[in-house]
Amino acid sequence: METTTIHKLENLLLVSVPRDLMDTEVLQLRRQVLQEIRRCQSQLVLLDFSQVDICDSFFGRFIQSMAKMAELMGAEVIVSGLQDAVVETMVELGMTLPNLQAVLDLDEALAFSRDNHRAARPSEQAETGQLENVAWADDLDLGAL
């Protein structure tokens, strides 16, 4: 297995997903990401799929469950780097991954992260009703201080 790298960049947790992960490694990666969300108090996780060239339904389920679990921890999962051949296959297979935000590259992810972080501050909460979850996570942070 190629090593998974998880980096923290500002408020963003960067996860580069290796190709040809075995099922047990996929589950291990999911746990690792959840632990890092907690450790780094990250509100946004970027799963970078640029190394992945074969994505079957098990892998799709991993992305879905990863997003759901992160959400329950007050974080959001966004994806980047999905190749054209991969998305064509995923959608035809029937994996539409609803509600999953995708960004083009790291720059866009950072911009998204900064926007979200700003918008999630309690003082601005009223203007950005759709970001309630993130605001809630922020409140928790403040409480812990």
Binding site: D20, D53, C55, F58, R61, G94
Partner: protein
Amino acid sequence: MTSQTEIMQVHNMMDVARARRRGLEMACNLGFELPDATKIAVVISELGRNITLYTSGGTITIVTEDGPKKGIKIIAQDRGPGIPDVKSALTDGYSTSGGLGLGLSGSKRLVDEFDIWSVVNVGTTVTAIKWLR
């Protein structure tokens, strides 16, 4: 050479990963564009995963047809418990393993021809063909 056949034993996900990568390679060599070669690899992955999930092992055979009509045939064969209800198994969202239930129904969408032969307590053979256009 008009035809090439490779038979691969499938017992675990490592075997499946090897088979799908070989499928991707053979499809690309035959002239498939990457999105279509990827679909072939994913079909191998789904069928191979079913073998590892439900049976003690089986084979995946990849056949390339390099005649006037070019294409790739994938045959996934096992002597497992069989599929009692093939029609349900081909329905989106139907799963007996807690998965997304897209393995068989989704694979069928990714290829041109798809056939399941299954007898309970005898085994299952799934044949999928994708033609090069």
